[in-house]
């Protein structure tokens, strides 16, 4: 028996395409966020509130990842921003090459902020770099306060945590302080916003953060 040494990363191909995407985004001065969550945490709703607030101030485009339908892309299209749908046909996450293909239908020079809504799944997307500047993880209060402990990889890789559906806190056994505490245990450098898409609480603070980061000149 002979041994052939390989020592290669399994996802090196995806990482390489992600690196190329990132270069492309830098060349065009686009700030890119990759939104991840369990299904139904409120990614599309937050995006809708964000578009309402920022679409006159910031040039925004959207890439929607979905397993089967283009319903989310249609929700977003109502706000008159360029939106591309990626249907993964059962695939549980977006990959860098799917994003690269989608970029073909966008005018990159006219975009300041690109929002990628990933497929609703807290496990798989954490492995696949898309070339984004930051991962934004959405955890809703209805999912309980131990979510970060169950899906540590996602909270570890994210830079921002949006705790959504805080309007429902009075009716739920979810403790906000515990939820935050659990998330910061996994990743002490998380920036946390508490939001509600119904009362719109916290949406402005989140949008200000987006403005600031989209307009920031890349460090050179």
């Amino acid at each position: 028996m002979s041994v052939i040494t390989i020592e290669r990363k399994v996802l090196e191909k995806n990482d390489e395409v992600a690196r190329q995407n990132r270069e492309l985004f830098a060349d065009h001065g686009i700030f890119v966020i990759n939104m991840v969550s369990s299904p139904g945490a409120g990614k599309t709703s937050i995006l809708e509130r964000t578009l309402e607030t920022l679409r006159d101030t910031l040039k925004i485009a959207v890439i929607e990842g979905d397993v089967q339908t283009d319903l989310d892309a249609r929700r977003v299209a109502k706000y008159n921003v360029p939106a591309v749908q990626i249907v993964t046909r059962g695939g549980c996450h977006l990959e860098a090459n799917l994003v690269r293909e989608a970029l073909g239908s966008l005018k990159l020079d006219t975009i300041e902020l690109l929002v990628i809504e990933n497929v609703g799944n807290l496990v798989c997307p954490s492995n696949y770099d898309l070339g984004e500047a930051v991962k934004v993880v959405v955890a809703s209060t209805t999912e309980g306060d131990d979510k970060p402990l169950k899906y540590p990889a996602m909270f570890r890789n994210a830079s921002v945590l949006l705790i959504n559906k805080i309007d429902l806190l009075p009716y739920l056994p979810c403790d906000l302080a515990t939820l935050k505490d659990n998330a910061l245990k996994i990743n002490p450098s998380l920036t946390v916003f508490e939001t509600s898409c119904t009362s719109k609480q916290g949406i402005n603070a989140w949008c200000e953060w987006l403005m600031e980061n989209s307009r920031r000149k890349p460090a050179s």
């Binding site: 390989i6 020592e7 290669r8 990363k9 399994v10 492995n127 540590p152 570890r156 996994i186």
Partner: protein
């Protein structure tokens, strides 16, 4: 969930090291999987078997070396195994830590049976 595409990526990488004919001689594919790599070993094993079925690689077994999640603490200097993903130093509780292992997802090597040329 995405173990199927991971199994396919593993096979693709292996295919860059041995010809199709040589793939029949591959007995083991050795991979390294971190405790926080987001991969379920049983599921990967199942998907690997499914993907190699009726291919030249069909006699290969996936051998998984799992790597514990460890953090190095800047406050107390210790490197300790931690609950997967928990960044706090298990020794002193500090949050000033770096991950030193546990996120690996690598193809390490393959074992090839050079002698086999038609059964024992």
């Amino acid at each position: 969930m995405h173990e199927l595409s991971i199994a396919q990526s593993i096979i693709e990488i292996v295919g860059q090291y041995v010809t199709r004919a040589e793939q029949e001689q591959v007995r083991r594919v050795n991979v390294r999987i971190g405790a926080m790599a987001g991969v379920v070993p049983d599921s990967l094993e199942f998907c690997f078997a499914a993907v190699i079925h009726h291919t030249p690689l069909q006699d290969a077994v996936l051998v998984m070396e799992t790597v514990p999640f460890c953090v190095r603490c800047h406050a107390c200097g210790q490197t300790t195994e931690s609950e997967p993903g928990i960044a706090l130093c298990p020794a002193c509780g500090s949050a000033d830590t770096d991950i030193v292992s546990g996120t690996e997802l690598q193809v390490v090597s393959i074992d090839v049976d050079e002698a086999s040329g038609g059964g024992a």
